[in-house]
Amino acid sequence: MRYVKPDSFENAAQLLFDSTGITRILAGGTDVLVQMKAEMVEPDLLIDLKHLSGMREITHENGGFRIGAAVSGAELGEHAGVNALWPGVVEGMELIGSTQVQGRATMVGNLCNGSPAADSVPAMVTAGAIARIHGPDGARDIPVYEVPTGPGKTSLARGEFITSIYLPARPENASDAYLRFIPRTEMDIAVSSAAVSLELDSKGICTEAKVAIGAVAPTVRLVDDASAALIGTSLDDDAITKLVAAVEAACSPIDDKRGTIAFRTKTAGVLAKRAAKIAYARAGGTS
């Protein structure tokens, strides 16, 4: 295996594009190194981009935040600005692994690893987060929602890699939340999960809503019917009942040792309900 630190994104893209063997991008390494250890993947070329410009920085941009692809969970969790604007995104990222894993793991790595249960992804999706992709043809921006295409798979083309995530600005009276179910309190992979992002008017009526569910389909899933159930309401019982029904209808999970189809579907609905109430309270709503 060759380990390379390219001196620019352009050279990294060229190197990736030209490589004939198995390549991996090294960010935090908390998935790639585990996969190498387990001999699930034996890269011929490992490309480390952490040293390149902006990769380890969180910068204020147009009222939102651009988060470099090598920013660790611990660094994100310590950033007051991102915590205030997108608390659900931060809490999703911070649920991943241990303190030690948080010291290295990154949102972009979590996204590109392609796990349907990736904890940082649902809240990025409800935030409308944008991934900046560099490749042989330069840079392009796409919604985070369009990155994962199936377990372990992404829409990135040959030679492409993500260099940052942009979390947009949001109005007053808006917030988000993320919850997952695991059978213990720490150090586990989501059996099901839900993220909710809300905007409220001055009377506490929901004017915008996004609901995403994780670990209950081959990829994270945005549930438009669940958003529709919340918009125009103050999250009354009727709205919550419709939200839960919409979420359950959107689930198509697998049965495995960590959870049955019925259990995952049921808990996804419960988590969406709870996350919606937390996001509502954070946004300043009272019900």
């Binding site: 935090g28 241990s98 030690q100 150090m187």
Partner: protein
């Protein structure tokens, strides 16, 4: 495989080593530098026995490549005592018998030190969450949590 020449700082000492690209920092510490304080429990970032700090950040050294540490500052358990004087955490762990077989202990001490630098007065819950990635199969954790709290109180008073 090409051998890489790396210069880094370990426990304040400038250190040079050669390593292959796929060698973890843990392998470098143990097999190339003879620093066997960090232990390999799982090798996959689950057990925390290989904990070190990298540029001040608590990490599993099994999930860091040796080649990534060029120019980095690393702290290991070997640098925790000051000569013959044990760090407060080390002494209290002995006094309160917060270990049995001892395999997890270096990682827990490094992790606990990192916690107390960030939060000198943690709650029991905060200690438990911070140490959730440090597995101990002997003690049942209660003595570990208590020892961290005893040391924290002493360090706050000192």
């Amino acid at each position: 495989m090409k051998t890489n020449h790396i210069q880094t700082t370990i426990n304040g000492d400038v250190t040079e080593f050669l390593c292959n690209a796929d060698e973890s920092l843990l392998d470098v510490l143990r097999d190339r530098l003879g620093m066997t304080g960090a232990k390999e429990g799982c090798g996959t970032g689950d057990c925390g026995a290989c904990s070190v700090t990298l540029n001040g950040r608590l990490v599993c050294s099994c999930l860091v490549l040796g080649v990534e540490t060029e120019g980095a500052e690393i702290q290991t358990i070997e640098g925790m005592a000051n000569g013959d004087n044990l760090h407060t955490l080390q002494r209290v762990f002995l006094e309160e018998a917060a270990l049995q077989c001892g395999i997890c202990t270096p990682g827990i001490l490094i992790a606990a030190k990192s916690l107390l630098e960030k939060n000198p007065n943690p709650t029991d819950t905060e200690v438990r969450y911070w140490l959730a990635g440090n597995l101990c199969r002997c003690t049942g954790y209660d003595k570990i949590i208590k020892a961290v709290q005893t040391a924290a109180a002493e360090m706050r008073g000192a």
